[in-house]
Every structure is written in C-alpha cells, then in structure tokens.
C-alpha cells in the first residue's frame, strides 16, 4: 500500500467519523409537551433523548441504538406504565442503546425495564419499583446493569433468563416480594457489589446457571442469602450473608442474660467464699 492510499484511508475515516457526529442529535422531552415514545420514534441511532423532570404515563418501546437519559441526575424522571400488562420500557433487538437515570413503575404483569434479544445495552442509575419484575434481561448478551434500584417489586429485583456475558454491578435489589437477583439458565455473567437485602425469599438465586462470577455482594435478612440449584462452575467470593436475625437475636440475648445472671451469681458467691466474706 502506497503513501497516497494511506492518506486517502485516513481522510476517509475522518469523513465517516464526522458524518457520524453530524447524524447524532439531542432531543429534549418535557412533561406535558409530547411524550417520550414520540421522541424515540423520531430519533435515529446514536441520538440522545434528554428527559426533563416530571411524571410520564406511557409504555416505551426502543428498537434502535439511542440513549435515553434524565436531563440531570437530581431531576426526578418517573415513567409509569400506561398499560400495566406491558413493560414500562422495552428494549428489543437492539445493540448499544442506553437508559440512564429513569425511574420506572407500575407494570404489574411485566418488568419495569425489559431487555429482550439485545446486546451491549447499558441500564444505569435508574430505578424499577412496584412492577412485577424490576429489570429483566431475556435472551440478551453483554449488557451492563449498574447502580440501579429495584425495590418493592412483586417478584424479582433483577432477573436474567437465558442471557450470558452480562455485568450486574452496584445495584440495590432489596425488599422485593420474592428474590433480589434471579439467574435462570443464565451463564457467564458477572454479578458484583450488589445489595440484595430484605427480600422475602432469596437474596441471589442461581437456577440452572453455570460459570457465573458472584463477588462482593450483600445478602442480609432474606429468608435464604445465596442459593444455587442445578448449577455448576459458579465462583463465589467475598459475599456477605446474614439471616433474618432482627426478631430472634433480642430474644436470644434476653435468655443469655438470664443464664449470664445465674453464672455470675455462682462465680461471685464462690469468690466471696474464697475471700472469706461469705459462708
């Protein structure tokens, strides 16, 4: 390849990059001034949709690589399900989209955020509460679920089904009516630094899921902390579990106090007899 060809190639790559930058646009959505789905429909891959503070009642379907983001992190953006039988936000058949700082609620038969047949999707700093499932990842690969709150859901906080190579890191998946994090037929995922506390049943459950990395997670005050069934090759490191002690522990301590008194009485009496102060 000659010098001219190399220069041409570099120029061409610059032109392609510049064209890409030109295409990416920012669309703003404000409460009462259109809905998010309309903005999604109008957008092109690579576009950024900035959502201002407010409550939006709708179901959003994403099928292209766009970025859905709250206008600022202190601005509370709530998306409530209009149709409670559908997910609040569904990302289907997409590569490289992202959801950042969006709070979803009210999908009583589906998930707050559902990733279906998708890859390289990032869901971060969002919340998914009071849904059937908080965040569901189904038949999807290489997604990142980070720093989200999935609480008070009817079943699971975060649910991975037939999905692999995903990273679930720094999430709070607590106080759900069933499980904090549930992996079903999901292999090679990285489940790290999550808090799965105070769920009705399990903190983290692996069902027929292999070769996952479960590290640095907390599972306090669940019925069962970490459960693995019909799975193999999973690595567990530095996880913390504590059973639901808050009722039992004080009672145990009071009983211990009674026994401790009897022991003290015995020891002090013996000591006084030895010192000759009591007969």
């Amino acid at each position: 390849m000659g010098k001219k060809h190399v220069i041409l190639l570099i120029l061409l790559s610059f032109i392609i990059a510049a064209a890409d930058i030109c295409v990416a646009a920012t669309i703003r959505v404000t409460e009462g001034n259109g809905n998010i789905q309309t903005a999604v429909d109008r957008s092109l891959p690579g576009d950024l949709i900035l959502i201002n503070k407010g409550r939006y009642v709708e179901n959003i379907a994403i099928d292209k690589a766009i970025h859905l983001r709250a206008a600022s992190y202190d601005a509370k953006v709530v998306v409530a399900a209009k149709d409670t039988t559908l997910p609040v936000i569904k990302v289907e058949g997409t590569i490289g989209a992202s959801i950042d700082g969006i709070n979803t609620e009210g999908s009583t038969e589906e998930a707050g955020i559902l990733l279906l047949h998708s890859s390289k999707i990032t869901v971060s700093r969002s919340s998914a509460s009071k849904n059937r499932i908080g965040i569901a990842v189904v038949d999807s690969e290489s997604n990142t679920i980070s720093e989200n709150r999935t609480e008070f859901n009817e079943t699971y906080g975060i649910y991975l089904e037939r999905s692999s190579g995903n990273t679930v890191v720094g999430n709070i998946a607590g106080q759900n009516s069933d499980k904090g994090i549930f992996l079903s037929y999901a292999d090679n995922n990285d489940i790290r630094e999550n808090s799965t506390n105070h769920n009705t049943w399990n903190g983290i459950l692996l069902w027929d899921s292999n070769d996952n990395n479960i590290t640095d997670n907390e599972a306090y005050r669940n019925m069962y902390g970490l459960i693995e069934s019909e799975s193999s090759g999973n690595i567990y490191e530095d996880n913390s579990t504590l059973p639901n002690l808050y009722i039992i522990l004080p009672i145990i301590m009071i009983y211990t106090g009674v026994i401790f008194y009897l022991l003290q009485r015995l020891i002090v009496r013996r000591a006084l007899i030895l010192l000759g102060k009591e007969k």
Binding site: N197, L249, P250, T256, G257, V258, Y261, E278
Partner: protein, 120 residues
C-alpha cells in the same frame, strides 16, 4: 461486612445481656434485704452497661453523624441511668418503689438499640 456496622450490633447484644442480668439482680436486691452477691453483680453490670451505652452512642455518631433526634435519644438514655443511680444513692424508700420500673425501661432501651443496630 463492614466492621463498623458489626461493632455496634455486638456491643448492643452484650448490653442487652448485661441489662437483663442487672435487672434480675436488682429485683433480687429489692426482695432480699442484704444480698452482697446480687449487689456486686448489679453494680458491675450497671457500670459496664453505662460504658457500653456510651461506646455505642459514640460509634453511632462516628458512623451516622450527629443528628438532633439521635442526640436527644442518647442523652435521654444516659439521663435515665443517672436518675436511677441517684435514686439508689439517696436510699429513699418511696423512690425505691419505682427503681424496678427504670430497670425494666433499661432493657427496653437496649432492645431498641439492638434492633436499630442490626444491619439491613
């Protein structure tokens, strides 16, 4: 688990054990007029409880910072202990009638401290 979260729970558990033992020995002291054994147990457990309560309060301030209601709560608890000690030292017969109630409320204080310090 963060050790800072664990320590107050352990201290509060020990505190509840001591408060229970102290309460029983206190009741024995009221029932039996001269019982040096129960007197020693009551005094040792009482002093240890004060030290433990102060330690839990300090560790709470270190972990959570100083908030008005929490501060008032700790001051009230320590105030209640001081009241009990002062009543016992006065040896007033009328006041002695109510000392067992203060002793029982010490168990309730430790119960509250323990329940709030079990990490979520």
């Amino acid at each position: 688990m963060d050790i800072l979260i664990k320590i107050p729970m352990i201290l509060a558990s020990i505190g509840l054990v001591l408060a229970t033992s102290s309460f029983i020995s206190g009741l024995q002291l009221i029932k039996v007029k001269r019982s040096s054994v129960d007197g020693i147990i009551h005094r040792i457990n009482g002093y240890c409880s004060v030290v433990l309560l102060s330690s839990v309060a300090i560790s709470s301030f270190i972990i959570n910072g100083i908030h008005l209601w929490a501060f008032l709560g700790w001051v009230s608890a320590l105030g209640l202990i001081s009241l009990k000690i002062s009543i016992v030292r006065r040896r007033s017969r009328r006041a002695f009638k109510y000392v067992s109630w203060i002793g029982a409320s010490m168990i309730l204080i430790w119960l509250y401290v323990l329940i709030t310090n079990i990490p979520l």
